[in-house]
Symmetry: C2
């Protein structure tokens, strides 16, 4: 069976699988780390769940590998743990929240919860989130809507990594968007995509000694390159030229300018010693306000069957997000493979926080 | 000055510019054609304006070149002209309209107008449009929101032309989406993109005797091809693999299933002798519900300046939609170039309808 990765942010499966860890051990361990770092119990649960979920889904770049940098930021006071997220604007179908530089996952879940609640009353709702932080995968939040029989959109902006179409310098984030749609028997459809090629893909081709396709990157001088070394020192290009560029720009404005957060170079990287000042934006659309939900879900199933039926004989087509669900199901039972370096880092953080347990 | 085309649906500028026509002559001529064909005055104005606007913008594929097929459909009773568009569902932030198979542009404008009206009260609103027809450029409707100091989204689904990622048969439309954002001194940002490469681009490479880039299409047997001939007989591939594919799928569900319209193969082509049964979806977000509008517009201007500043020396970066605005300004004064075949077809339609005027 041929497998297609629909999890855009996923790094390739680690080739050095040193240890298999069960989610049921990993979750409480990571939770305790955050509690020891000063995160309130409930918020530590949200954060640990998000990270472990990403690892279960196979999106290891957004999994517990992030624990050390998150903890460092919390201990240095760069990310808030206890501040109360408050509404700045509040209307029947929209709200603007002050994220108060609190942990991104906590603020993101709160924002999408409000969007879902409002949409249940008025049909559609959106919530903008000002001044937040790296919040893991975009798909986590849109999926919250799908679980409530809604169509969910989530967007977030990031530090500039990508040139805009026609440019050759870093100007716009590799801003992701996610759209989630529930189905009946099939997995929900969860598109989660960034607007340029993931840097990780270039690194993999480099290690294989292969050239990258033209159109992925320019070198430091702004010249097109297929040399992965030059690409890594240079600038990523948006997907499909003006299309990916336009999406990245629109997401930046929606998340950054509309919410009163940073945009472009005003956003700080996770490794910078300052609040990140990201913005995020969430939309929930209540399916029941348009049609019978059961009929909708049935039609989505039928549509997915039709799409899958367009595969060549002997091949399989996966829907957006499907590989994540398959990974999730498998890894819940068999455990999650980690390179030992990732676990060593977790254990080091645990030791620094005075924990005796090790993973 | 290097120019980048951000108008995704634009066919390349016609190379046989036989005649230059002023919009002020073309508009009334096309309007009269539709009135003679039985379209009520006001609706004929909407339709003529949309088509001429597309030609002014340089998107000739969606301009008056469509008049003959529109008229044929109207005369054959395949497209309704007089039916009243009515709400099926109506909530404070959402509505579902029965498009009653009326001219797409008329229904689309009505839907976006309602979305804007509702958003002005509650913050965001969406309107689904059931059972409609080809409605020209997606950007026309999102721009209506931008003109009202809102952020607009528009989506529409179309007949299957494109394979989904991993598939090799036509399964999903080259479904477009548009996002429009107002600016202060700069042109509004209007992204208008489809989810695969335009077939027209393959035709142009064919005429030049050039290969197409790999990843654009597969041949009839589903094998990757760089031969434009084989590509044109084969199937288009989505942009950026799973990303374009996922967007096309999400748009299909939003426009088709959520609104109770056709999806995938249930949609008829403009040339088929049946109602098209398309769906469309519109979202308007009221900027004033989030922030001071003037401040927002100023920040967008500053952001655009920053993006433009990332160009190499001596080069220019255009924002999404900017080339359309430039074309529009120029062509309003100098006129619109048309290949004579397009004008001959218009004149033939006019003659058939008993008009004495010719363009």
């Amino acid at each position: 069976m041929r497998r297609y990765t629909y999890c855009m942010q996923a790094s390739e499966k680690e080739r050095h699988m040193e240890k298999i860890i069960l989610a049921e051990s990993l979750g409480p361990f990571v939770h305790e780390i955050f509690v020891k770092a000063g995160v309130p119990e409930e918020r530590a649960t949200v954060l640990a769940n998000c990270l472990v979920e990403a690892d279960l889904n196979g999106i290891s770049s957004h999994g517990v590998i992030r624990v050390p940098v998150y903890v460092r930021r919390i201990l240095q006071g760069l990310t808030e743990t206890k501040a109360v997220i408050t509404p700045i604007e509040d209307f029947p179908a929209s709200a603007l929240l002050d994220g108060k530089n609190v942990i991104g996952q906590v603020a993101g879940e709160e924002a999408m919860r409000i969007a879902i609640q409002k949409a249940r009353t008025v049909g559609i709702a959106c919530v903008g989130l000002r001044g937040t932080n790296h919040f893991g995968t975009c798909g986590h939040y849109s999926e919250m809507a799908a679980k409530s029989n809604m169509i969910g959109f989530s967007f977030v902006n990031t530090t500039p990594l990508v040139a805009v179409y026609g440019g050759t310098r870093k100007a716009v984030g590799n801003n992701p968007l996610s759209i989630a749609i529930p189905a009946k028997e099939h997995f929900p459809i969860i598109l989660d995509m960034a607007c340029s090629v993931a840097q990780g893909k270039i690194e993999i081709l480099k290690k294989k000694g292969l050239d990258i396709p033209s159109g992925w990157a320019v070198d430091e001088e702004g010249n097109p390159t297929t040399d992965p070394d030059k690409a890594l020192k240079g600038v990523l290009l948006p997907i499909a030229g003006p299309k990916g560029s336009g999406l990245a720009i629109a997401i930046d404005i929606l998340c950054g300018i509309l919410t009163g957060s940073g945009v472009g170079n005003e956003i700080r990287h996770l490794n910078d010693p300052e609040p990140q000042n990201l913005g995020a934006f969430f939309i929930a659309i209540d399916i029941a306000k348009f049609t019978n939900v059961d009929m909708f879900l049935g039609r989505v199933d039928h549509y997915v069957d039709c799409l899958k039926g367009s595969a060549r004989e002997g091949e399989h087509i996966l829907m957006p997000g499907e590989e994540c669900f398959i990974n999730h199901g498998e890894r819940l039972i068999t455990g999650i493979p980690f390179p030992s370096a990732v676990l060593d880092d977790l254990n080091e953080v645990a030791a620094q926080l005075g924990m005796t347990d090790r993973i």
